[in-house]
Amino acid sequence: MRKKLDKIFAFFICGMTVFSILVLGFVIYFIVREALPLFSEVSVLDFLFGSRWMPVDYTGTVSFGIFNFIAATIAVSFTALALALGAGLGAAVFLAFVATERLRSFLYPFVDLLAGIPSVIYGFVGLQVLVKLFLKAGVPTGSCVLAAGILLAVMLLPFLVSSCCETMLKEKEKYELVACALGVSRWYAAATVILPASGRNILLSMILAIGRAMGETMAVMMVMGNANLFPRLLGKSESIASVIALEMGTAVYGSTHYHALYAAGMVLMLLLFLINGLIGLIRSRMEGETL
């Protein structure tokens, strides 16, 4: 009986794993299938490096170049990650090393609460507060890459803070007393042992965060201005996710425009794989050699 149950359980687990892999495979297959027809009409190079996006022929020739969108996606994500990492690491260090157990259990729910707010609400707040601030500061219309970056950073914070704090607490438990027993101060131990030991897991959190940042659509769309321009911090721009969300509803099924949007989605996906792979490579490097 026992053996039979074990077998059923093992079978169930395997089945679930295969199922999730199949789902991923299916998503990739579907996107690639819908994207490929584009490249019989537009060359890959023109698509990736062209900066003119004119999907409907109001004014002469159509053109599909998503270079600016790619650049904008990367610019917004990394701006957001940089801002969030600064604030997030600071908050995590505070929670892990300064706050007492009681203060920590009091503050944690607030961090988690941030994660529960829908992105459209963030976008709304961004529109009402951030964009207006930028307008006052002299940015025409107020919408800009930096505003989207800041907004996105706030959205990334809860995850970054809680995962970094967890890691630090774990490493702290392992090494703090040991280091203190050598007579070094707590802060020295924190800076020279506990933070470096947390590095690998912090990188992992960054991978997950950047994935979220690149795919985030609503909030970014609401404050970035959505103009096909090369991204500058205080200028308007448009991310891949925004283009897809804004235009998919109006694209005719089966048209070049429709396929181009799928192709843009495919590029976004590849971009994510690429960045995940790169950070993963750095991470395994760090494992290979000692700090």
Binding site: K174, Y175, L177, V178, A179, C180, A181, L182, G183, V184, S185, Y188, T192, V193, P196, A197, T290, L291
Partner: protein, 249 residues
Amino acid sequence: MEEILMLKNVSVFYGEHPVLKDVNMGIRPGRILAVMGPSGSGKTTLLRALNGLLWEEPEAEMKGEICLQGRDTRTMDREELRRRVGLVFQTPQPFPFSIYKNMTYAPRYYGIRKKEQLEEIVREKLMMAGLYEEVKGELSKSALKLSGGQKQRLCIARALTAEPEVLLLDEPCSALDVKASAVIEETLLGLKERYTIVIVTHNISQARRIADDAAFFSEGRLVEYGKAETLFTAPEKEETRSFLTGVCG
């Protein structure tokens, strides 16, 4: 003989719960003291009180006085106390760095920067811990890749790099096999010339082999304390006798 550590009426409470009760003892330099007792008898708390780690725990409260070389440890700087009274933990926990960096961690903190000087410390202390011959060609290897016994000897060597006067060890062999334990015992015997050693151990035959003095704790009280030979062969108290025979037989 002048005592290096002196405990006067030391009691430790966690909240209302007493863990050490009115302990009086003097620890003599240049000898190995084995501290024994059943689980929960306050042995680990004793070690933590001796090197001041106890003060990092807000819920622990200590009464009485512990003097290091005649000076009340509570008037001393915490970091200085912890440097002078080293502690090696039950589970060896090397930093996730190379062997070399583990060994230079404390010296660097104390301001030693010269490469030759650091290398000399690494060599000397690793030799003292009986690890040098095994690792001399691979000092840049990660300390986490060492075996359990090697890790523990590295931790002993690392504790020595802070130049302590007293070395406390909290069941250093509990996770090691007989052979690795024997190497550690040998190491400790070699160290007692220069350092005062206090070792908490569950292993009575180990205590017999290495200890000069022995102390037996039960439920936070110091039941019996004296020369190891006397305590093992002719314990005065019934409690000690039954502990020794109970575990041996």
